[in-house]
Symmetry: C2
Subunit: 256 residues, 2 copies
């Protein structure tokens, strides 16, 4: 009897989002799937976890096609509580997505989608984040098909310690995809603006808004590759030490 | 006339926390200080930012000793809105803290204190996060004095692009500090547990809890240095690319 891989699926758009449904249907082709995802949208939450509030878990059923757990927490919470409390066995793979909106470049820092995959990695489970570079009119089939391919590969080859894959898929039909590139994280900033408004009670509030600056930084940068209708795979690690700077910093000889 | 450096101070324990007060009083000795901090505790929020809710800002006054802006957002929001909307000139330095609780090792990933310094760095401002390794009976003077020293040094020497300093100070009097070490981020995991309870309305909920595992990984690891009553300085970067793995990943030849 063949034992199917056990695949934990999560996201940051919430368990009712269409992207997670597309991902579940794809992963069901290659494994036993369990879904543990936020009960509502948790975008741009970074690697937040919930320590000061109780976490609630309720069953979720998607039109009898699949069921899962909806969690009153962040994507990182979902992976933690799945592995630590909800699942009876350890998943062989964590896949987070399919996110609506690119998680390339500086977005990696803010991304709930990536943070879920980071959490899987912290727990020692090979993990992948997958995002579609659009907020509207998503073409999920390209990303779903690629999710199957990369999941199979990662299940076979594994990933290095403390490293996950961050995948961004252009929102075009598969026939228009011009290749797959291994990339590095782009560093273009957001040009932010704060829209200052006054509410009906005459109190000031702000909306944060911004657009990523378009700065060319090399053909191997995630943002650049996506623009060319290629799929971007960035290996991401969570050891944030700047090793190159350690020696110079030592030469500062800061004392108490 | 000497122009004083302009120092933006924030934290994740909230603007009313004693740690930020200690830091403000220290930084006032060397610069013009502006405080923009969360209106309440925002611990373990990672690098979350607030895009789906309005952000409110109110004035805060600390016993006529200093005043600042209390923000209904995360530490990263505070730095963004300070630089993007509230301040009339660009700060020369961002200092985040003094946090109650170590931000060494894997905590760096979850830390709101560090995320504020990361945000300063993203905005091109030299930034430092400073934490005290205790939740109770804090001895702020050691960390305050060291904050002055490191702030002066960073203002003089600057920091490399995309790199901040993450500082952890043992909670002992200055006379008991045995030195200052340049460290790398420890990788010991949390051993997590989920405490399952039932509320008065018979609904299940969970509390997340955990303790960092105590695994020796070298004398130059942040957690290890702190244990020896030394101050730990880790240079932290936010380019998360695992460059070492890129070539092997290319050899996988994953295609669409």
């Amino acid at each position: 009897m063949e034992i199917k891989p056990y695949i934990l699926i999560t996201n940051d758009d919430g368990i009712a989002a269409p992207g997670i449904h597309a991902l579940v249907m794809a992963m069901k082709e290659i494994g036993d799937v369990v879904v543990v995802a936020p009960d509502s949208e948790r975008s741009a939450v970074g690697h937040a976890i919930t320590l000061s509030d109780p976490i609630r878990v309720v069953n979720f059923n998607k039109n009898s096609l699949w069921s899962g757990f909806a969690v009153s927490g962040t994507p990182a919470d979902c992976v933690k509580i799945a592995v630590g409390a909800l699942l009876e066995r350890r998943p062989n793979l964590v896949v987070s997505g399919i996110n609506l909106g690119s998680n390339a470049g500086i977005n990696v820092i803010y991304s709930g989608t990536v943070s879920a995959a980071t959490e899987g990695t912290i727990l020692g489970i090979p993990s992948v984040a997958i995002s579609l570079t659009t907020y509207t009119n998503p073409i999920f089939s390209t990303a779903s098909d690629f999710a199957i391919k990369i999941a199979k590969t990662v299940l076979t080859k594994g990933l290095p310690k403390r490293t996950l894959l961050n995948i961004n898929v252009p929102n075009v039909p598969k026939s228009e995809i011009l290749g797959v590139e291994i990339t590095r994280q782009g560093m273009a900033n957001f040009a932010e603006c704060f829209d200052k408004r006054v509410d009906p009670r005459k109190r000031v509030y702000y909306w944060m808004d911004g657009q990523k600056e378009d700065v060319y930084a090399g053909d191997d940068v995630d943002d650049e590759v996506i623009k060319k209708n290629k799929i971007s795979i960035t290996p991401v690690k969570y050891d944030l030490t700047n090793y190159e700077f350690m020696n110079e910093l030592k030469s500062w000889n800061v004392e108490i």
